[in-house]
């Protein structure tokens, strides 16, 4: 008698859904662990990347959503070039991040990572009065991040050193002239596409 875990029918549909959204053949993973062997972040991950793939195969959605692994994945693609089955695990992790965001099920311990990503993109839309549409703006991003997390003292000295060397312009670049508004429109379309 086999003791290997098999997914039930409705649980298999979770795997299918993530496969379709990530365009990765998750079901062909046979856990050779090459991805985990090369992963530079696995020392802080709750689950190795192949374990996440196995959990998806088994339809263990809650467990996958609660894991810190997708949020700590930095997308370095070491797994992608080493997988014998052509699975880019980092794309699966991105998909899990997007799904947990859409279902509002982000583990509280990883909220800051999500917050940083959201503020990074938000700052690209530009700011009232000072503008800055379309470009990264470190001072604005870090200001917002500190305001939202309440952690005002982290990297203060580094910020000072950067400013001293002219590496952190105080005001954002206003580079969009003839094409002004295009970035805002792209973000508007992204929002509309996400709406149910």
């Amino acid at each position: 008698m086999s003791t290997v875990k098999q997914p039930t029918k409705d649980k298999a549909s979770f795997c299918q859904e993530i496969e379709e959204k990530s365009h990765q053949p998750i079901s062909s993973c046979y856990h050779c662990m090459k991805c985990a062997g090369g992963c530079p972040i696995n020392f802080v991950m709750e689950h190795n990347n192949y374990e996440i793939l196995r959990m998806i195969q088994l339809g263990e959605k809650d467990k996958v959503y609660k894991s810190n692994t997708p949020w700590l994945c930095v997308g370095c693609k070491t797994c992608a070039v080493r997988c014998p089955n052509g699975i880019d695990t980092s794309k699966v992790m991105d998909t899990i991040k997007m799904e947990t965001m859409a279902e509002d099920k982000i583990p509280a311990s990883h909220y800051n990572i999500k917050l940083f990503y959201e503020l990074f993109l938000d700052s690209m839309k530009g700011f009232p009065i000072i503008g800055g549409e379309g470009r990264g703006y470190e001072v604005g991003l870090m200001g917002l991040y500190k305001f939202c997390t309440g952690d005002f003292f982290a990297d203060m000295n580094l910020g000072k050193e950067m400013t001293k060397r002219g590496k952190m312009p105080f005001l954002p670049h206003n580079a969009l002239k003839r094409r002004k508004g295009e970035i805002k429109k792209i973000f508007q379309r992204a929002k509309e596409k996400k709406a149910p």
Binding site: L121, G136, H173
Partner: protein
């Protein structure tokens, strides 16, 4: 030769010295860089982690402008920007439904879409071309004698395979260039390990650990400095050496080329570093 140039946000701020050095080295090699007008941020990790549409539309917009400017090649010195723009170009050429959709949306917003005609490239790939790399050696007036370095490629320059212009596991381009510049290139096993850059703000603790490992290994290999081709690797490695007893500077490869060319502005680039490289360079009489 005239090339389109997309510096990316970092080269206008945290990696200003990379911008200056790249422009100087390209100029010395008779390559003209024409900055893409009204370019936008590629979206970086924040884009591809949170939104499928933005992950494609933001990099693609730059390629639409490049085509409108009739640029045949676009040079991106930031490995992260290079990776995302190259990937967007790849998906358009492959004709994936998501890329087609993003392209169609851009047509509505910008009046034109991207047709897949631009060669997306990195300064390292450009300089390593046969007809250009031959011009490097005659320019080396100040060989980097005694400068022990390990080349650090990081993640996004060589992976995944559709962005790679060098071997994905054992890239050589920077090793060869540094040899040409006269540096003492050390071997190590961490040249393609990731620096964890995208977690440097929200999970600084994790990045301290990674940096500690990379810098310790570089020192164990006998290096006095690390050389990189990515502004995020450089910033992460220079600013997160908290637990290292004797921190080492992290150079951009174009900076070291510029120094070997005897460029008069090189000292100005060095002054922008967080870990001061000037004592090391003057002790070797290179600056």
């Amino acid at each position: 030769m005239k090339l389109g140039y997309y510096p990316g946000c970092s080269l206008h701020s945290t990696a200003a010295e990379y911008n200056m050095a790249t422009e100087a080295v390209f100029d010395a090699l008779d390559l003209e860089l024409a900055e893409l007008p009204e370019w936008n941020c590629c979206g970086a990790t924040a884009g591809h982690s949170t939104d499928r549409f933005l992950a494609l539309a933001l990099p693609l917009r730059n390629l639409v402008i490049a085509e409108a400017e009739q640029q045949k090649e676009l040079v991106l010195p930031c490995a992260a920007c290079y990776n995302l723009v190259k990937a967007a170009d790849h998906y358009v050429r492959e004709g994936t439904p998501e890329a087609n959709d993003a392209n169609e949306e851009l047509k509505n917003i910008m009046g034109s879409s991207y047709n897949g005609t631009v060669h997306v490239t990195h300064p390292l790939e450009v300089i390593m071309r046969k007809e250009i790399v031959g011009k490097v050696k005659p320019q080396v007036k100040n060989p980097l004698k005694g400068l022990k370095v390990v080349p650090y490629y990081g993640c996004l320059l060589t992976r995944p395979t559709y962005v790679a212009f060098d071997d994905v596991e054992q890239p050589q381009a920077m090793d060869q260039l540094m040899n040409l510049a006269g540096a003492d290139v050390k071997r190590w096993s961490y040249k393609t390990d990731c620096c964890g850059g995208s977690l440097t703000v929200p999970r600084t603790d994790v990045v301290y650990e990674i940096t500690k490992k990379l810098v310790t290994e570089a020192q164990r290999a006998g290096a006095d400095a690390i050389v990189t081709a990515c502004p995020l690797c450089q910033m992460t490695l220079e600013t997160r050496q908290k637990e290292i007893k004797n921190p080492i500077p992290v150079f951009f490869f174009t900076e070291l080329l510029g120094i070997s060319f005897g460029h008069p502005q090189a000292k100005q680039w060095m002054k922008k570093h967080i870990i001061d490289p000037i004592p090391l360079l003057t002790s070797l009489h290179l600056l």
